[in-house]
Symmetry: none
Subunit: 214 residues, 4 copies
């Protein structure tokens, strides 16, 4: 991805493949990211083309090929930029009521995945990741895992508060909370409703909490 930091010196290697980042046009970069977000919303991932991005961005094709290896990589940068700008919720709320907190956040996530402007590029990246392991690694690292981490943090807080099992595998717990949700979304195997997420939270908490608890 283009985010790999490149010192100017790196370009001095005998046959430099990587262009000189310091000379990069910020204006072009922004135009490309904007155009790709717009277009993926308009036509969908499969009909998204690099030519169209370049044309919409008023940019030469080579400028895209120089800095990104694929249209998915462009989208990854574009969505990362948006998410980082919007200031990723660094933490889940912690009202002390774990169930309420999880339900609230999952309801917000339902809203997010119902918003076409966000959904389109996110789905595009999920699709591209499913097809390309290398992209998947980047996608998971840069967009998915930060999201999961805040769930994990909240669960660990609940562990410390004794609300859930101390020896609970937090990673697995997060997968149980989000896996069914993402599956419904990506495979369109069911509607994304508050009722679904609420009941999913309730069911999961039954698994997370000590058996004796009523």
């Amino acid at each position: 991805m283009s985010s790999t930091p490149q010192s100017p010196r790196a370009a001095r290697a005998p046959r430099a493949k990587v262009p000189d980042t310091t000379r990069r046009s910020a204006r072009s970069r922004a135009a490309i990211l904007d155009a790709s977000m717009e277009l993926v919303g308009e036509v969908g991932y499969s009909r998204l083309t690099i030519e169209a991005i370049a044309a919409r961005a008023g940019v030469g094709k080579q400028t895209i090929y120089r800095w990104w290896p694929s249209k998915a990589a462009v989208l990854l940068d574009a969505l990362t930029a948006v998410v980082d700008d919007d200031g990723y919720a660094a933490a889940l709320p912690d009202t002390g009521d774990l169930a309420a907190d999880l339900k609230e956040v999952l309801r917000a996530t339902v809203d997010e995945f119902t918003d076409a402007a966000f959904e389109a590029p996110y789905r595009a990246l999920a699709i591209a990741s499913a097809a390309d392991a290398q992209l998947a690694a980047q996608f998971n690292e840069r967009l998915q895992e930060p999201g999961l981490a805040v769930y994990a943090a909240r669960l660990r807080a609940a562990q410390r508060a004794g609300q859930i099992d101390a020896d609970l595998d937090v990673g697995l717990a997060v997968e149980m909370l989000l896996g069914p949700f993402q599956q419904r979304w990506l495979a369109r195997s069911g509607p994304l409703t508050y009722e679904f997420t609420d009941r999913l939270v309730e069911m999961c908490l039954r698994a997370f909490t000590p058996r004796g608890t009523p």
Copy 2:
């Protein structure tokens, strides 16, 4: 003389464009399905082309376009044929030990999704479904839901045996068992191991079983 005379029979065909299924070549159909399965395994979905399928099958391209709307639709038929031939496990084993039964089947599923011959077309369809709602409906109905149904049946048997809550939402329960699995697989967010599925089953059963149970 040039006016097309319409026999009553011809007039009964209300919609034009639809080819005559009775004249369809079974040989060609089989060759196309075989070729598409082979090729998706060899080159992956994104490099799978209808031209290559036609060439491999020894068939004209039009014969594919006549009967299928997309390469994904071909794969859906191909995989459906394979699954139906192999005799879908109509039911999960029922040894009385729900945890053991679920673990066994999920372990088998791990094996299945580790087998490239099965994985490639299945992933291809999952990708295509993520990109195309219409295909997704077909994919879910014809391949996913039959698979889920056997889990649901086993859970309902366990309900009758009093092993899990009588008022458990079986559909949701199945999503909890398979969602995290499929998510790991499709998004490559983690390894598909027996350990993972075993622990997933254990966690889920804690959610499914009556709270009082130790």
Copy 3:
């Protein structure tokens, strides 16, 4: 061409390629010829297709392929039928005034070649003949030469009347009268006007008549 007479017995040859003429459907034949004449006028020769002829004629494609080797052969039969029906002018007028007679007939020919209904199939055949020597032989024999023959007859009458050289090569003379005309028409190298044909006749007659004549 389909005009080759075939006795029923010929079909008894070990591997009969030639279908049984006696069973041929006159209705289909007529519909095909009509349709081909219509279509060549509507879309031109290069866009004329056998499928379209069959569809317009309400006939199976095989019925065309059974009886004709090419779409040009169909047109040749079609135009022959029309020309024969219209009763080919068996002879040029002979008023005694050769120049006037030739001018009149050439003016009529100008009219004919300006009529789209006649021009389109005729041009189609001329084009097909230019590309296919075998068709050319048929076209010349069945459509061109009968036309030329009437000119030759008229010139021979003029020879007998002493109006043109007795040792004139009548065949060449006919070519001189019609070659420039057909060339203009086919190559579109100039307009087909009465003035052109009148002056062509006058020039040719200077070549045909005895030198002493003023």
Copy 4:
């Protein structure tokens, strides 16, 4: 950002779609013209395909479609290039003997039209011109008329020398000399022999020369 900035220069190009001629690859152009000449000789016009030209030339199909509207247009450029390179006979010989000069040139033309390397593309263009008025205009202007002009020049010289009528319509005269020839060639209505052209010249000269001359 996505609005396409238009430099004044770019705005001066009134019509879109037209590719930039200055960037055209001379190498590709030459390869395409060569390949089309070769192929039309090998397989004939009707079996000449743009795909085959592109393949033989080592060129993408789009490079042909970008610069030429049809395979006939390619051939027109190809033949024009050959003819211009070979240095079109700028003038007929003028030995003072008009008959001899015309016979000599027509005999040379017979040779030319008997040479397959020249005949094939020329016939191809004649066929395409017969089918397409727009191409015909180009063909006549760029290949036919320059050829006719040299005949016209020679006839005008003869006029000045008093050998043929001063008021002879030179254009018509040229059509009389070449029309029967081209007709025989294109329609294959007779053999192209020296005897034919010699007698054609003699006949025409009888029409061109003053009546009193023996």
